[in-house]
């Protein structure tokens, strides 16, 4: 088995541990948190085919989400819509085995669905996650993101691929009852840039760094 302790976060250089606290301070209206090593699986397939949709639901515990939406599945998994035939399953690091489950399940399915094809890709390390939370989250993100993130346009449960400053991100809005919360999935090589950008842009709102999970 691979030694997962060998893994290193793309933001390890920043020494965030020393800055991090467990909760956002009272004067701080926005918080950043690095969430490395998430399980991430890119899934491609025919959305319109019921058998495909059912197979996905069986594995991840949620039906395929509608356009620009994300749905929670089993075991803290979220299934994000990325495009008309593309989804991203995101889960905690311990769910990495899902990729094998999917590969074999869809392998079987593909053979059953003659004429259809499905693709599964392990993209765990193709992204890292930065969480932005706090009452000024939308103001902070709007400095770099052209999306309308107002709750009327982008309520909790929405997801989108877009830009934050000059980094491509997948935005996943998953508010807690009392707190706005966005997860930004970004390519590791852009992570330092994005973190620096968010820290700089968030200064005027008071910024906390939260402990990584």
């Amino acid at each position: 088995m691979p030694n997962t302790h060998l893994r290193r976060s793309p933001l390890a250089q920043l020494g965030l541990g020393a800055l991090a606290t467990n909760a956002r301070g009272p004067e701080q209206n926005v918080a950043l948190r690095s969430i490395p090593f998430q399980t991430a699986i890119n899934l491609r397939g025919p959305a319109k085919d019921d058998r495909f949709a059912r197979a996905v639901e069986e594995i991840v515990g949620t039906p395929l989400p509608a356009a620009c939406r994300a749905l929670p599945g089993k075991g803290d998994l979220r299934l994000l819509w990325l495009g008309p035939d593309e989804w991203l399953a995101v889960a905690p690091p311990d769910q990495a085995h899902l990729i094998g489950v999917m590969e074999s399940a869809f392998g079987v399915l593909e053979r059953a669905l003659s004429g259809q094809h499905v693709a599964v890709n392990d993209v765990n390390d193709n992204y890292t996650t930065i969480e932005v939370s706090g009452p000024r989250s939308i103001d902070l993100l709007s400095k770099g993101c052209p999306l309308d993130l107002h709750p009327s346009a982008f309520p909790s449960g929405s997801c989108a691929q877009s830009l934050v400053a000059k980094a491509e991100v997948i935005l996943d809005r998953d508010d807690k009852p009392s707190e706005l919360r966005f997860r930004l999935m970004v390519r590791p090589s852009f992570a330092e840039y994005l973190w620096a950008w968010l820290s700089d842009a968030g200064q005027e709102y008071g910024l906390s760094v939260l402990t990584s999970p």
Binding site: P2, R8, P10, H117, N121, D125, H150, S189
Partner: protein, 1004 residues
């Protein structure tokens, strides 16, 4: 300085606090709520600047963004701002301002000599002279340049920070005057997301200067205050003051410029706040309530300090509690102008007379003035003014019957303030930028928006040429209701706020006021004060054939100053129209170009500066390179290790050492930046067949192949190795620089041309870190870290195997860009650093040497391998590269047909060759051009150029790759590379492969 100009009461200033500032080195005082202009006037400072061309003394003309003259330099270098309008600078404690364009001082400016010589400097004079002797222009130019310019640019780096942000709303209201407020209120009550942008520091617009007005029976400013309170309390409303809506883009995208901390003393500016912010607003609906700007009159001597717009004089009295003069004359062509005379009279300022162009002055304000006993000179014009640095008197004379000349002797009226009113120009700038059409309204002599304009935009209030306060409020409310309803919101009908108010009519329109002498024969009537353009200049332009209004503008520079002609343009059009005998609207307007008022470059920059200007992409192993003292080079956005100098080594020594180590022992290289694309699906092989020039259908699982990709124009686009991972699954690698463009190219073809192919593409560039081990000991080193069988039989060249390396899940591919036996270890990128470090430890006994991109370039050049972007430049075909072997003859592929075009088949195209210099130690410069025949001086016929050139320690001599016309057939011939210093390097054309041509080492 005397305080007699500050009125005892009135105004929206805080008299309980006195703040100090300096102007022109002199310490002065004012109150919070003052603008720099009002504070200067309060201190009796009437001369504030010098004009651009003639250096004429100039004073404050306006109280707003249209100010042409009172431009000042604020703050100390490097945090200094040139060309700020004193009328818009809010006074704060410690503010320092300097006048501009005057030397040695404002009072005594040697540039004033230009004024004396002005008859030799008509519009466009520079086009007619400075041509002799030929080539002397640059000498003249230096003198002209130093006389031109206004303020000074800072000399150092700006210490301030800037911000920018996107924003979205249902309704954007531009202008926080009565119409804008009414629109915002009603939309906010309907639940709309509203942004209200006001350029001033406070809401209220004209009401700030008309505090006597009443709305719904209460003082107007109480209504403003209540409206502001309500808007600020609404959660979906954002009120932005000090915010200039400066540009209108397509699809209701409006750019705003907010001055966040400029109005605060330096030590009170919160460090966490930016100085200024750019708002990029996408609005579903926009209401433009941008108001109107009073138009001056064009008459002789109209630029003397002390000449001021009538509405500005009212503002200074009413808003700032300042008397802008002691003894005033009003010069007007309309009833509205009398408002200023009455306001000043109320404030205790003497009104010497009213000079009214109208034959029979009438109207409610005129009547009020008559009742107050003001002396009115009807059918009179101001024909001249006197006073050097301040107005001392004006001459007024009776107009002739047709109003086109003067009849009768002028009479002199003593005054230090001449208030001028020539009607109003609706502020249609943004509406025009929104592609709205404007139309000329003869009754008010103004361009107003046509009804039924572009989608999602409406106008309300004075911008529509509607002036009575009650009408403005009603229009504003209607616009707000209409916008909300368009968005499908419920709006409950309610009465608009009620107010009295009147128009400024009747008026008598006159764009050029006649004088005692013909235009241009004495006395200057300025159309554009900032650029010193006179009515005579306009007539000269017309005389010389510059008849289009755009030509007039460009020839005379009218309207091209920092005020962009907000005061002068309509007068200029009027004068041109009159002279050409055309109706005014036929002359037309010049384009309303953004920005409405100037916007700081820093605001566009925002935080895209220094390290945040562009992402610097780092590999998972980057931190190791940094720790090891690597020198880096930027490749696209990536930072790559270039070489690893040891103490005392320069680039050459370091690279020579690295290159030798790879050939003799083992080298390690971070190749994580290569692009990687996962290709899956039953048609994956067919897809590869179409995008690569060679054949892919027979590649076995577990094997890899080099591929060359062309554009449809036949030119080499990218190359890389693609491995077959499974029955229907391939992993393509691309060059570092082209990773994104290749992915885009593949998706484009797949989606737009070949949707029938069952293939999915996924970019996995960053899923993997790639560590490349190369050299005779590469296998030995790797074998210590993995259970994968690395023997040449089990894992031959261009094959791959999966397993674990140093505890990480890994795919090892035998692929070589150095010509040595090499192993590319691909691991999930989070493991990259650990695997690299493990390799370093395992390789230590074997002298493992990290090598950077420079050594990699040398190694591959020894083998004659091309680098995309170095040997190719978008104009090179595979045939040119001698790579015909990779062009399939049995299938079609992108670019194939283009290779058959006649100019592509020619044998004298530039082809890839090797070059060996005569002196083996001499290294050709990259980029050097090659000739067959040397001449004493250029031009010389070039036959090619050096694309790559290095000293090769492994070959013991320098090597170079070059593209040479017909080169493949010219092996052995001698070429020369002329050097820039006159020297030359002789070299011989050879094969591009310099090392191990049989390729035995890489298969080892």
């Amino acid at each position: 300085m005397t305080r007699k100009y500050r009125l005892a009461e009135g105004g929206l200033i805080d008299r309980s606090k006195t703040i100090s500032f300096t102007f022109n080195g002199e310490r002065l005082t004012g109150h919070p709520g003052d603008s720099l202009a009002s504070a200067l006037l309060a201190n009796g400072k009437r001369l504030v600047g010098r004009s651009f061309k003639y250096h004429r003394p100039r004073g404050i003309v306006t109280a707003g963004p249209e100010e042409p003259n009172a431009l000042v330099q604020v703050g100390r270098d490097p945090a200094t701002d040139p060309n700020l309008r004193a009328t818009q600078v809010e006074l704060f404690d410690g503010l320092t301002a300097m006048p501009q364009n005057a030397w040695p001082s404002l009072e005594h400016d040697v540039g004033e000599v230009n004024s004396a010589l002005s008859r030799f400097f008509p519009a466009g004079f520079y086009y007619k002279t400075f041509m002799w002797p030929a080539g002397a222009w640059e000498t003249y130019e230096e003198v002209i340049r130093s006389a031109a310019g206004l303020g000074k640019a800072p000399t150092g780096k700006d210490p301030d920070r800037y911000d920018k942000t996107y924003a979205h709303c249902d309704l954007l209201v531009v202008g926080g005057g009565p119409a804008g407020l009414a629109a915002a209120l009603v939309a906010a009550r309907a639940g709309a997301r509203v942004i209200l942008a006001e350029q001033d520091s406070r809401l209220g617009g004209r009401l700030l200067s008309e505090p006597q007005s009443e709305i719904d029976g209460k003082p107007a400013l109480d209504w403003v205050e209540a409206a502001e309170e309500e808007l600020r309390q609404s959660p979906e409303v954002r009120v932005l003051t000090r915010t200039n809506a400066f540009a209108y883009f397509d699809h209701n995208f409006v750019a705003l410029h907010e001055q966040v901390t400029d109005h605060l003393p330096a030590d009170e500016r919160p460090v966490e706040l930016p100085r200024q912010r750019l708002w990029k607003v996408r609005a579903k609906q926009v209401v433009l309530a941008t108001g109107a700007i009073e138009r001056p009159l064009v008459f002789c001597g109209n630029d003397r300090p002390g000449v001021m717009l009538a509405s500005a004089a009212s503002s200074y009295v009413k808003r700032y509690g300042v008397a802008p003069g002691e003894r005033a004359v009003l010069f007007t062509n309309n009833d509205g102008g009398y408002r200023a005379a009455l306001d000043l009279l109320d404030a205790g300022v003497r009104i010497a007379a009213v000079v009214d162009l109208r034959e029979e002055p009438s109207g409610p304000l005129t009547e009020a003035a008559k009742e107050r006993g003001l002396r009115i000179l009807a059918n009179y014009a101001v024909v001249a003014t006197k006073g050097r640095k301040l107005l001392t008197s004006v001459s007024a004379a009776r107009l002739s019957g047709d109003g086109k000349s003067i009849s009768g002797a002028p009479q002199e009226l003593e005054c230090d303030l001449l208030m001028v009113s020539g009607g109003w120009n609706p502020t249609v700038h943004l509406y025009c930028q929104a592609k709205g059409k404007i139309t000329w309204r003869e009754d008010i002599a103004g361009f107003v928006p046509e009804t039924g304009g572009p989608k999602g935009v409406s106008c309300a209030g004075a911008v529509n040429g509607v002036y009575p306060l009650g009408d403005c409020l009603r229009e504003g409310q209607q616009a707000g209701v209409a916008a909300a309803r368009t968005l499908g919101m419920e709006v409950t009908e309610s009465a608009a706020p009620q107010a009295e108010g009147q128009d400024f009519l009747p008026a008598r329109w006159m764009y050029l006021v006649p004088s005692t002498a013909p235009t241009g024969h004495g006395g200057k009537a300025f159309v554009d004060q900032q650029n010193d353009v006179t009515a005579a200049d306009l007539l000269l332009a017309l005389r010389e054939g510059y008849r289009s209004i755009e030509h007039v503008k460009r020839y005379t520079t009218t309207g091209m100053g920092t005020d962009q002609g907000k005061l002068g343009n309509v007068n200029a059009i009027g004068i041109v129209a009159e002279h050409l005998g055309k109706p005014l609207p036929e002359v037309g307007v010049t384009t309303f170009r953004p920005p409405y008022t100037p916007v700081t470059f820093g605001a566009f920059m925002g935080r895209d500066v220094d390290a945040l200007l562009d992402p610097l992409r780092k590999t998972p192993i980057d931190s190791w390179h940094v720790r090891s003292g690597a020198a880096f080079e930027d490749v696209g956005q990536w930072r790559r290790a270039w070489y690893y100098p040891k103490p005392g080594e320069d680039i050459h020594k370091a690279v020579n050492r690295e290159v030798a180590a790879v050939r003799q022992a083992v080298g390690i290289m971070d190749a994580s930046t290569l692009g990687k694309i996962d290709i899956q699906g039953p048609d994956a092989a067919e897809f590869l067949n179409r995008v690569y020039t060679n054949a892919w259908k027979k590649l076995a699982v577990g094997k890899a192949r080099y591929g060359l990709m062309l554009g449809e124009d036949g030119m080499v686009m990218d190359d890389g190795v693609t491995a077959r991972l499974g029955e229907n699954r391939y992993l393509m690698t691309t060059t570092t620089g082209n990773a994104a463009s290749v992915m885009g190219h593949l998706e484009e073809w797949l989606q737009t041309e070949w949707p029938e192919l069952k293939v999915y593409l996924t970019s996995v560039t960053e899923q993997f870190a790639t560590v490349s081990l190369a050299g005779p000991y590469a296998r030995t080193v790797l074998a210590q870290l993995t259970d994968i069988d690395l023997s040449p039989n089990a894992l031959p060249h261009m094959c791959l195997s999966e397993g674990e390396v140093a505890g990480a899940p890994a795919r090892v591919v035998r692929v070589s860009f150095t010509g040595e036996a090499a192993f590319e270890i691909n691991v999930p990128s989070s493991y990259g650093l650990a695997v690299w470090e493990a390799c370093m430890r395992a390789g230590e006994p074997y002298g493992i040497t990290p090598y950077g991109t420079e050594a990699m370039h040398v190694l591959r050049a020894e083998k004659g391998y091309i680098i995309i972007g170095q040997e190719t430049d978008g104009s090179v075909t595979p045939i040119d590269l001698g790579m015909d072997w990779i062009l399939s003859k049995t299938k079609d592929y992108i670019g194939r047909r283009s290779l058959k075009r006649p100019d592509i088949l020619k044998s004298d195209r530039k082809q890839l060759v090797g070059l060996l210099t005569e002196n083996p130690q001499t290294v050709l410069p990259e980029g050097a051009q090659l000739v067959e025949e040397l001449k004493a001086t250029p031009p010389m016929t070039m036959v090619g150029h050096v694309t790559s050139s290095y000293y090769s320690p492994n070959c013991g001599h320098s090597i170079a790759l070059a593209l040479v016309k017909g080169g493949q057939a010219k092996q052995g011939e001698t070429l020369f590379a002329p050097m820039l210093d006159g020297g030359r390097i002789a070299c011989t054309i050879t094969s591009p492969v310099f090392f191990d041509p049989e390729g035995e080492r890489l298969r080892a």
